[in-house]
Amino acid sequence: MSITSYNGSALIAMVGKNCFAIASDRRLGVNFQTIACDFQRIFKIHDKLYIGLSGLATDVQTMHQRLQFRHKLYQLREERNMRPETFASLVSAILYEKRFGPYFCEPIIAGLNDDGTPFICTTDLIGAKQLAKDFVVSGTASESLYGACESMYKPDLGPDELFEVISQALLASVDRDCISGWGGIVHVVTPDQVITKTLKGRMD
């Protein structure tokens, strides 16, 4: 089995009107055996910046620790939070450091700029950044996710509608992938609040 499909994952981030939503599945598996249904793949870097990491679970946890460390150091030195574009460049640089022995994870970065405009981007496992205006997906279910997002997405959705669209896209896609699923978690981030909801889908 491929190393990126050892643990199974599904991640989406979508852009709305002055808000963004980031969602992931919750399964942690070892090949076809399910170990846990509450694995955390989306991490908060600061109030307006979230990163979702798909791929090998150990590298998800290692990357999260490294990025949290780098951001805390940045906060101490600069006395402010990192902007999303800067953070995306940092992620890309950290991944490329390991060009010939990479971390087997593919991050999705989603954040709000200071003026409230949303920013999303994804990179591959060696740090090739790809910005997007509408949505980005990652994980073992990525092909299904692309299809579902493309058909359900509309620009300039409000937070509630965005939550509906991203949840439906996630649940529809993970139902077609045996190694991701077991529920979902969605964070909808607006300039003044963060709404976190867990989804209950087909628990298989």
């Binding site: 055996q33 846990a36 150990t58 946890q61």
Partner: protein, 207 residues
């Protein structure tokens, strides 16, 4: 065919491991304790490559001691699990430790907890978990019979069900098990299961 499993009950956490040390087709020892007490309130059950198992669990135990010695307070269970994960992750791309673990502990503020630690340093906090080939049987039994807040008697009944299932349905299943518990009174041996040891031989057979 090693087995390691554990779960959280009402104010305690239980870890069960087999006690057979095998080398290829030979059973070298049937009383090998694979669950180390990291400190007064933590247990680390470890299965896998024998050398790595012994060395790594001792290494973690000594580091727990060192932290306590330097700082005057012991590490919490989640911090200990995180430290262990970092050691595994650092070694992963150099000389990986081939050990799968379950770490259980009791903290005064947060109560009992159990962590699943893979050989590739995947860490997950769980209420019930298993490692090794036995996991294929034990996880299904847990899904059916595990309930939150079981007391010690109910927990031992569940453990006995698991051991019986492994003995019946798994090829080359181990005969003997050790059960350790950690609660507010500390980490200690709770029970043993399996074939009793034969009586000592009285005479040297070569005489």
């Amino acid at each position: 065919m090693e087995c390691l499993f554990g779960f959280v009950g009402d104010g305690f956490a239980l870890v069960v491991a087999d006690t057979c040390a095998n080398q290829s087709i030979v059973v070298q020892k049937t009383t090998e304790d694979k669950i180390t007490c990291l400190d007064s309130h933590k247990l680390l059950g470890c299965i896998g490559e024998s050398g790595d198992r012994v060395q790594f669990s001792n290494f973690i135990q000594k580091n727990m001691n060192l932290y306590h010695f330097r700082n005057g307070i012991p590490l919490s269970t989640s911090a200990a699990a995180s430290f262990t994960r970092c050691e595994l992750a650092t070694a992963l791309r150099k000389a990986p430790y081939q050990v799968n673990m379950m770490m259980a502990g009791y903290d005064k503020r947060t109560g009992p907890c159990l962590f699943y630690l893979d050989y590739i340093a995947t860490l997950q906090k769980l209420n019930k978990g298993a490692q090794g080939f036995g996991a294929y049987f034990i996880l299904s039994l847990f899904d059916k019979y595990y309930q939150k807040n079981m007391n010690v008697e109910e927990a031992l009944q569940l453990v006995d069900k698991c051991i019986w299932e492994i003995g019946t349905r798994m090829v080359a299943s181990p005969a003997n098990y050790v059960i350790k518990i950690v609660d507010r009174n500390g980490a200690r041996l709770l029970a043993r299961r399996g074939r009793p040891e034969p009586a000592e031989e009285q005479e040297d057979l070569m005489q």
